[in-house]
Each structure stands twice: as structure tokens, then as C-alpha cells.
């Protein structure tokens, strides 16, 4: 029974990757909106874009880790 519950928990943890997708899309979409208004300033901000995406993505990766732990470690 516990093993089945762990699988359900792993599936629930996968919701976190969807949330991370919203975050990454938000960062990239807002960057694009700003970049199209002022294309000359966009090139200098790509590093900031990737840092923002990385931070937004990290929490989604944590949920993936939780799912992995439930599947293989618990």
C-alpha cells in the first residue's frame, strides 16, 4: 500500500514541473516583450534572461527530485 501511495505522490510532484513551466514562460515572454520594444538593449540582457530562467527552473527540478526520491528511494 505504501508503495502505491508513493507512486501517487510522485505523480502529484510532477505538477511542480508544470508550475516551473509557467515561471520559465513568464520570464522568457516578458523578456521578449521588452526586447521587441527596445531591441538595441536586448543583447546586453541575455545573461540576465538565462539567470532568471535558471532560478525559475530550479524549483521545478526540485519537484522532479521529490518524484525521483518517492519512486526509487522511499
Amino acid at each position: 500500500m505504501e508503495g502505491e501511495l508513493a507512486h501517487i505522490g510522485a505523480g502529484l510532484a510532477a505538477i511542480g514541473s508544470g508550475a516551473a513551466a509557467i515561471g520559465v514562460g513568464h520570464v522568457a515572454g516578458n523578456f521578449l516583450a521588452g526586447a521587441l520594444r527596445n531591441p538595441s538593449a536586448a543583447a546586453g540582457q541575455t545573461a540576465t534572461l538565462f539567470i532568471g530562467i535558471a532560478f525559475a527552473e530550479a524549483l521545478g527540478i526540485f519537484s522532479f527530485l521529490v518524484a525521483l526520491l518517492l519512486m526509487f528511494a522511499v
Binding site: F50, I51, A54, A58, I61
Partner: protein, 252 residues
Amino acid sequence: MADDAKGGGGLEFHPMDQFIVKPLFGDVGDPVHWYTITNATLWLALAVLAIIGLMVLTTSKRAVVPGRGQSIAELMYGFVYKMVEDVTGKDGIKYFPYIMTLFMFILCANFLGLIPMSFTTTSHIAVTAILGFGVFFAVTILGFVKNGASFLGLFWVSSAPLPLRPVLAIIEIISYFVRPVSHSIRLAGNMMAGHAVLKVFAGFAQVAAIAPVAIIGVMAIYGLEVLVSAIQAYVFTILTCVYLKDALHPHH
């Protein structure tokens, strides 16, 4: 689980089988000691050899007009150099060799892991945690050596209103100590998830009805993985630069 991994005859396999560390010599079930030569050892060594081939052998002639190999090496050098200069500032150039090493190692390990039937060393948290915690300890020690006790000013946000500062300090301290964890798990998680998805799609190809879709899907995801490999190496390096900047200039 381990028994299904051998024999690429299109039999049933588990998507996570590709991440099993196996001894190179001897049977699959043999115990792995710290000195055992495993497939992880092999592919880590190959990553180092690839870097030597790319960066040392191609530039050994020091041609004024660079050839193909030397052009690639020079472009990578210039790319990382500019990144360190832009993010960390002029005084971060001193630590450029460390950051260049990190970038080249992660890039080569990621790309070598994309070769079919190879082993992705950076998909293991054991590998990336060494890199991530190495950066964390290096940056923390450097911060204290360079700034002394005023490095703690990193946690005391002087631009915020005074009543808020203790709360912000707690948040800053937590986020500082989560850094090495997220730094290493981001790389390992991205690599592991991408490669597992590749294998899952490859598993769909066994069913004849959806095989064409699955094969096109594998190709598309493989292309995405090439992109992710390069971007994750870039992200790891640029976050190292950001942490280094915090250590050199701790005041907000």
C-alpha cells in the same frame, strides 16, 4: 533492473537503466569500490581527453590565421572571458581559469553523454555536487578572505527599511545555503530528465502503430537535448560568475 540493461536487442528496458554505474571489467553485479574503474570513470576521462584535444592540441601550433580547431578553441575562450568580464567585472578576471575549466568540463561531459549507448556523467548528483559545492566553498572562503567580516554584509540588506532587515537576513541566509544544492541539482536534474525522456520515447518505438511518431519524437527531443546541454553548461558557469561577484562585492 540491471539485468535488462545489457543486450541492445530492442527488448524491454527501464528508462533509468542508462544511469546505472557498472564496473567496466567484470560482471554487472560486482561491488563498486572507490577505486573500481566504472563506466562513469571512463566517460569522465573521455571528457578530459576531449578538452585536451579541443583546447591544447588544436592551439599548439599558435597559427596567426587560425584553422578550424583553433577557431573553435579561440571562440570558446573569448565567450567565457567576456562572460566573466561582463558579470563579475574586471577584478573577476583573476578567477577566469577556474570558470573556464568548469565550463569546458560540463560542456564536454554533457555532449559526450548525448552519444547513444554512452554514459552521462553529469546526470549523477555525485558528480555535479562536487562541482556545485566546490564553487560554494571556494566562493565563501574567497569572500571572507577578500572582505573579512564585512562579507556578512551580504545578508544585511542596508537598502531595506530597518524593521525589515532581520527578516530579509533570514531569507538571504537560507537562499545562500540553498545555492549549492540548486546549483548542482539543476544540472543533474536537467540531464537526467532529458535522457530519461529520450529513453521513454525510444520505448514507444516498440509499438508498430506509433513507431514513426516515436522516432520523429526521439529526433526532436535529441535536438532539444543538444540545446539543453549547451544551455546548462552556460547557466552553471554564469551562476558561478554571479556567486563570485557576490563574494567580491558583498554590498548590495
